[in-house]
């Protein structure tokens, strides 16, 4: 096995980005440096993923280790895109820890994978899994944004105008960013489910699987969130709904994976 040198270095860079973004939250200086470190970390992380993929002859999602690492990478990419789109750095300190955590888990968990069966080869399947992971990254961002929304909402209502109040974005801005990430999450997850369905028709008989059910639940819940966002629930209720949605995502990523879905996990 390759020593996880690149991955470790990427985690170090992420940690540096986190430290800098916390500092810029408090001091409001050198604000461009944290995203730069993050981007450098993402490049190294990509190289790490690439090496893993070369060793496995496939996108490294088949092991929990690989998919955690991939998830961390997607989260970082998604955050950078969001930063680019909304020019709002204050979210960084709260989001980068998730990038660090899942990348580090990807390093620490055992990497040994079973030889890939015919069910898990091919571009269709690769896209199916990769997109699903990207969707979960988008929902994670929405979860963090929703927590920030609730914190900022509380401070505004109580007229607590401290450091966090000053640095966190306006409620409407957080709401808009949340809308962007949920929309991306839904679109990507829908495509992923569709590709999965096409694939399943080829290798399985039917589609009756717990994980598919939970993916549909997730889709429905976030779809409902977006709908209600324009129907008078904008604000705290949407934030709470997004937190519930993230609970469902976590549940289907862990419990359903481990106990309910025998066929749909490939370990």
């Amino acid at each position: 096995m390759e020593p996880p040198f690149l991955g470790s270095f990427a985690v170090l860079l992420y940690a540096g980005a986190e430290a800098l973004s916390i500092r810029s939250l408090v001091k409001e200086r050198q604000r461009g440096l944290a995203p730069l470190l993050l981007a450098a970390g993402l490049v190294l992380h990509y190289a790490d993923l690439h090496l893993r993929a070369a060793a496995l002859h496939s996108v490294p999602y088949r092991t929990l280790s690989g998919s955690m690492s991939l998830f961390g990478w997607m989260l970082g990419i998604a955050y950078l895109l969001l930063l680019f789109r909304h020019r709002e750095r204050a979210v960084g300190p709260f989001l980068i820890p998730f990038v660090i955590l899942s990348t580090a888990m990807g390093l620490l968990l055992p990497t040994g994978g079973s030889p890939s069966g015919p069910e898990t080869r091919g571009a269709l399947f690769a896209f199916h899994v990769t997109l699903a992971i990207l969707a979960y990254a988008a929902f994670t961002i929405s979860f963090v944004l929703s927590l920030l929304y609730l914190i900022q909402n509380r401070q505004i209502r109580r007229a607590k105008t401290g450091v966090l109040f000053a640095r966190l974005p306006a409620l409407e801005v957080i709401g808009r960013m949340n809308r962007t990430s949920v929309t991306i999450g839904i679109a990507v997850l829908a495509v992923s489910v569709l590709l999965g369905a096409l694939w399943a028709r080829r290798v399985w008989e039917g589609l009756a699987d717990a994980k598919v059910g939970w993916a549909m639940t997730t889709l429905f819940l976030y779809g409902f969130l977006l709908w209600m966002d324009r129907r008078g629930w904008e604000g705290r209720r949407v934030a709470l709904l997004s937190i519930v949605g993230f609970g469902v995502v976590l549940f289907s990523y862990t419990f359903v994976n481990l106990y309910f879905s025998a066929e749909h996990t490939f370990r």
Partner: protein, 422 residues
């Protein structure tokens, strides 16, 4: 204070701490009066440089005099000029000399001497004072440098500490909160109820914040029209307030209406029409303009005067916490100014000048073989002494301190004598 300097700084002032309003009113000067006053003061030889800082909270005369104790006649002059008994004027005044006078100006420029700690307006007023004095020709090297240093120090304090950061006025606190709800205040619609004093303050603040859609409702339509015209808003009929609500993001209540003008059912209807987009209410009216139950509606943010006053108090404390850091910055800048000022004296300047010329001489002599140096050194020394004789005599004979300091400053500048000082 600065024993080596050829001049002494002094300050005679009346501010909100020492002087009551009746005296302060009499010594508040308009721009024209400042010019007139400076001309008379310099004309009578009371000061050799002078600047007058006059704001609503203070009038301060800064001056440069040749010897300590000069400038005694200043109070007498002001008493004659403003037609106030000299004794009363003297009682209400305060004096500073030397470094303390400079320190006071630095504190004023930084907003440390202001009633609203850290306020920024005073910096412009200090700058304006310097401008008026320059127009009148009453400043030369010293006061010019003093005031520029004070302005620079004031800017540094505001940039490097949080003393000017936390808003103190009720309208700015209200808009700070609204900004954190909406993010883009200029694009929002602000509805001000009431066109009285505090309604006008809010409308002005909104206009300054760049709000494009500003609406004003007042029971007497004419007052709303007049205010709207002044701040660039639009007057809306008092009866139409309920109809204006759906468009309004921020509603400020300041009217004298005996019963609430914004009722819960109206806000509920407005929120339905807005599809739940947030609304922001500031109720400063007594009795209330906005029914208190409005605060319970989903996505409605509602505040009253008390809430904002609490924030103002917290912010005052936050600013006060920054005072030690601000003072440290001022002392740093003050030290720099005083070092410059102290060097601005005839004897050290002539010593420095001689040393500079000797450096040049030695550099040239070094290029000769050692055996040949002595005759050249003697010639060069003779030339040096001859060269310095006349400037020395003239500098020492100069009686006007401002002119003397000007010349010292010119020599220091032209021969780069302050090199390595900073």
């Amino acid at each position: 204070m600065t024993p080596a300097a050829e001049g002494h700084l002094l300050l005679l002032g009346w501010n909100f701490r020492a002087a009551g309003l009746p005296v302060r009113e009499r010594v508040a000067f308009t721009a024209d009066e400042v010019r007139e006053g400076l001309r008379s003061i310099l004309g009578r030889g009371l000061l050799s440089e002078g600047v007058i800082v006059s704001t609503c909270h203070r009038s301060e005369i800064y001056g440069l005099v040749g010897e300590e104790g000069a400038g005694e006649g200043l109070t007498k002059f002001v008493s004659e000029w403003r037609n106030l008994p000299a004794a009363e004027l003297a009682r209400a005044s305060f004096h500073r000399a030397g470094a303390d006078a400079a320190r006071h100006l630095f504190r004023v420029a930084a907003g440390l001497d202001s009633m609203a700690l850290g306020e920024s307006e005073v910096l412009g007023q200090v700058r304006q004072a310097l401008r008026l004095a320059r127009e009148t020709g009453s400043t030369r090297s010293v006061l010019h440098r003093l005031f520029e240093s004070a302005v620079a120090a004031g800017k540094r304090v505001r940039a490097e500490t949080e003393i000017a950061r936390h808003p103190l006025s009720i309208p700015s606190i209200g808009f700070e909160l609204a900004e954190k709800v909406f993010g883009d205040i200029p694009e929002r619609t602000v509805l001000v109820l009431g066109a009285g004093e505090s309604g006008a303050a809010f409308a002005r603040h909104a206009a300054e914040a760049g709000v494009k859609d500003l609406r004003i409702a007042n029971r007497t339509r004419e007052k709303a029209d007049a205010l709207a015209l002044r701040v660039g808003g639009r007057a809306v009929p008092w009866e139409d307030i309920a109809r204006e609500l759906p468009a309004a993001d921020v509603v400020v209540g300041t009217s004298a209406s005996p019963e609430p003008v914004v009722r819960k059912p109206d806000v509920e209807a407005a929120m339905r029409q807005r599809r739940g987009r947030p609304m922001f209410f500031l109720d400063l009216a007594v009795p209330r303009d906005v029914e208190p139950s409005v605060a319970g509606i989903y996505n409605v943010f509602a505040y009253e005067l008390n809430d904002l006053e609490t924030v103002a108090e917290e912010n005052r404390v936050r600013r006060a916490r920054e005072v030690p850091r601000a003072e440290a910055i001022l002392e740093e800048e003050l030290t720099r100014f005083l070092a410059w000022f102290r060097n601005l004296a005839v004897v050290p300047t002539l010593t420095d000048l001689r040393r500079r010329l000797e450096e040049v001489r030695d550099a040239e002599l070094d290029r000769l073989p050692e055996a040949e140096r002595e005759p050249f050194r003697r010639a060069a020394d003779a030339m040096l002494s001859r060269l310095l004789r006349e400037p020395t005599r003239r500098l020492k004979a100069e009686t006007d301190p401002a002119r003397k300091l000007d010349r010292v400053e010119a020599i220091r500048h032209l021969f780069d004598l302050d090199r390595g000082q900073r």
